[in-house]
């Protein structure tokens, strides 16, 4: 096991830039997820680490060794592919033994390690099956065992859960995370599913159009997003265009004046406010708003608010029966309140807001 360092790696094609100067340090035993919409360069980045795509510039270091120019077979990475990529003509045992065979591990040790890897992946007794005789979940575990049995310096996962059904996916997520922590695997994981990334990774790298937008823990990305794209991509968020007005006020495009964090903010033009940080009340303090719609979701209720022409989403735990808020209906006048510290001013690029598309 070892560390992984990406030093300003880029990948340019004739007309497009797939990855633009990505810097990343993955510590020994750390689980880092590359997260982003499709086409953001996360898979290209992973494939550069594995050696299948040569970087146009920059350096890749695995366990301190510069492998930028090394072929895939000389990198000591263990990769799990989205399609699993099992060898269809080999048995499960032969699949798992392949990497050890390539490393010229002696027969007796090889057998012992294959047995151990199969046990770890809960595949005991399936060593003589062919991949096509296994279920999707079992094939996935063979791919895991095959990559792990060689003790790679870096463990690479390319959307390994996307071909599993929802229930199995949740199980395997926990399994992979437990295995990764127990073995102390330095792991780089690619996914477009934010829930997957949030639940599994120590740190997340949010990518968009080939660039890294922000790197941090799930909490840091959610509470302190660096820009409007990250705020909108991780969790749900009210993102409002407008202009900041001192002190601690923000005027939206429709003219509503909203309280915000009273900080000399950078040249941000978007106010970000998480829906669950807005309280909706029938009396007390707050900005007057009109209810557009109420969506009952069991544990939670969503309130779609109209605040002087500005649309806001608020999410709150469903009030107990008898609470006057339980009777709220579209058209009702309510009061919306939030701590100004929850309303952050963020920089935004064109295309970062969902409504920008129109």
């Amino acid at each position: 096991m070892g560390t992984l360092t990406l030093d300003a790696i880029s990948r340019r094609y004739a007309t497009t830039i797939a990855v633009e100067r990505v810097d990343l340090d993955v510590a020994q035993g750390e689980f880092v997820a590359l997260l982003g919409p499709s086409g953001c360069g996360k898979t290209t980045t992973l494939r550069m680490v594995a050696g299948f795509v040569p970087p146009s510039s920059g350096r890749i270091l695995i366990a301190g060794r510069d492998v930028t120019k090394a072929p895939p077979h000389g990198r000591d990475t263990g990769m799990v592919f989205q399609s699993y990529a099992l060898f269809p003509h080999m048995t499960v045992g032969e699949n798992v033994a392949f990497g050890l065979e390539m490393r010229k591990v002696a027969r007796a040790e090889r057998d012992a390690r294959v047995r151990e890897a199969l046990r770890l992946a809960r595949l005991d007794g399936l060593a003589d099956r062919l991949p096509r005789q296994l279920s999707g979940g079992q094939q996935q575990r063979v791919a895991l065992a095959r990559a792990l049995v060689v003790n790679p310096a870096v463990f690479l996962l390319d959307e390994p859960l996307s071909n599993l059904d929802a229930k199995l996916r949740a199980e395997v997520r926990i399994e992979i995370r437990a295995l990764q922590q127990r073995l102390g695997l330095t792991t780089l994981f690619v996914t477009h599913d934010q829930e997957e990334a949030l639940t599994m990774a120590d740190r997340l790298v949010v990518m968009e159009r080939g660039r890294v937008r922000q790197i941090g823990t799930a909490e840091a990305l959610y509470e302190r997003p660096a820009d409007a794209f990250v705020a909108g991509f991780i969790g749900r968020c009210n993102l409002l265009r407008g202009t900041p007005e001192a002190p601690g006020q923000f005027r939206t495009a429709t003219g509503a004046l909203l309280p915000r964090l009273p900080l000399a903010a950078p040249a941000g033009s978007v106010l970000a406010l998480r829906p669950e940080r807005i309280t909706v009340a029938t009396e007390g303090t707050g900005l007057p708003a009109r209810l557009m719609a109420v969506t009952y979701l069991g544990a939670q209720t969503e309130y779609h608010l109209d605040l002087a022409g500005t649309r806001l989403l608020a999410i709150a735990p469903t009030p107990a029966e008898g609470d006057p808020r339980r009777a709220l209906a579209p058209g009702d006048a309510v009061l919306a309140h939030w701590d100004p510290a929850e309303a952050r001013l963020l920089p935004a690029e064109p295309g970062d807001l969902p409504d920008d598309a129109t």
Partner: protein
């Protein structure tokens, strides 16, 4: 419901008819080969295996069979590896604008009528004999070179089809596990292409074994293939001996297909 039953019945008739049309000549040949009389007519005057004995006694058939067998095996052994390599290049190499031209060239022998290709080869061999000052026409190497041309288009086509269905991620996984490029090819790519390669061997063998037109001008005295020997025989006599020889040929090809099907399911690759 009546409509669908009628449709099903019509489909059944069409399928039976098509199979009948394909298999009738084959069955006719087999049946005629055991007729007793020399001039084929119905009803047969009796049944006999005399024509098989006659075919065995005519040494030109046995010699033709031996030549055809050697020729088909050699052409397959040379053509299939060449065709496989060509298919890999077509599918994988950076060829740019050359790819289309190369593809057409490699599949070309299928489009050129055998007699035309045979004539061209004959003229070329005559010229080449002058250059190398040795015999080419009527020699086994000359025939093998010609028949390799027959095997390449089939191999290229079948292996290309297999390559298109191949999961490149499996090759990447092998490289990731420490296999060098040639090891990846030997341990992963080639075994995954096996159905296509086995089918290519079978079709190449059959193409070569049964070829008449291309071969006609290239055989020499004492170096005659079975189809050419049969044609020669036909010029002098018409009796069920040829049916007997053809039956043996049908049995051989049929056996080959059955054996191949044991290893790879032919319906999957053709």
């Amino acid at each position: 419901m009546a409509g669908s039953r009628l449709q099903r019945a019509a489909f059944g008739v069409a399928v039976t008819g098509a199979y009948g049309l394909i298999l009738a000549p084959v069955l006719a040949v087999i049946v005629i080969s055991v007729f007793a009389q020399e001039i084929v007519s119905f009803p047969p005057t009796g049944f006999s295996l005399a024509w098989y004995a006659n075919a065995w006694e005519k040494r030109e058939f046995a010699r033709g069979f031996a030549t055809s067998l050697q020729l088909a095996l050699a052409a397959t052994a040379i053509g299939v590896p060449l065709g496989t390599a060509a298919a890999l290049a077509l599918a994988r190499a950076r060829l740019g604008g050359l790819r289309g031209a190369l593809n057409t060239l490699l599949l070309g022998p299928l489009a050129v009528p055998g007699v035309v290709a045979g004539t061209a080869l004959y003229l070329f061999y005559v010229r080449a004999e002058f250059w190398v000052d040795d015999d080419i026409k009527g020699t086994l190497p000359g025939l093998v070179a010609a028949h390799v041309l027959l095997t390449i288009p089939w191999t290229v086509r079948l292996v290309l089809a297999s390559l298109q269905g191949l999961d490149r991620a499996a090759e990447e996984a092998a490289a990731n596990l420490g296999a060098r490029p040639f090891t990846v090819f030997r341990r992963i790519t080639l075994p995954m292409l096996r159905p296509g390669v086995v089918a290519a061997c079978l079709f190449s063998f059959i193409q070569s074994f049964e070829n008449l037109e291309l071969t006609l001008l290239l055989v020499g005295p004492g170096r005659t293939t079975l189809p050419v020997a049969m044609l020669n025989y036909l010029e002098f006599r018409v009796d069920p001996t040829l049916a007997a020889v053809a039956t043996v040929q049908i049995a051989l090809v049929g056996a080959l297909m059955l054996i191949t099907d044991r290893f790879v399911s032919l319906s999957r690759v053709v």
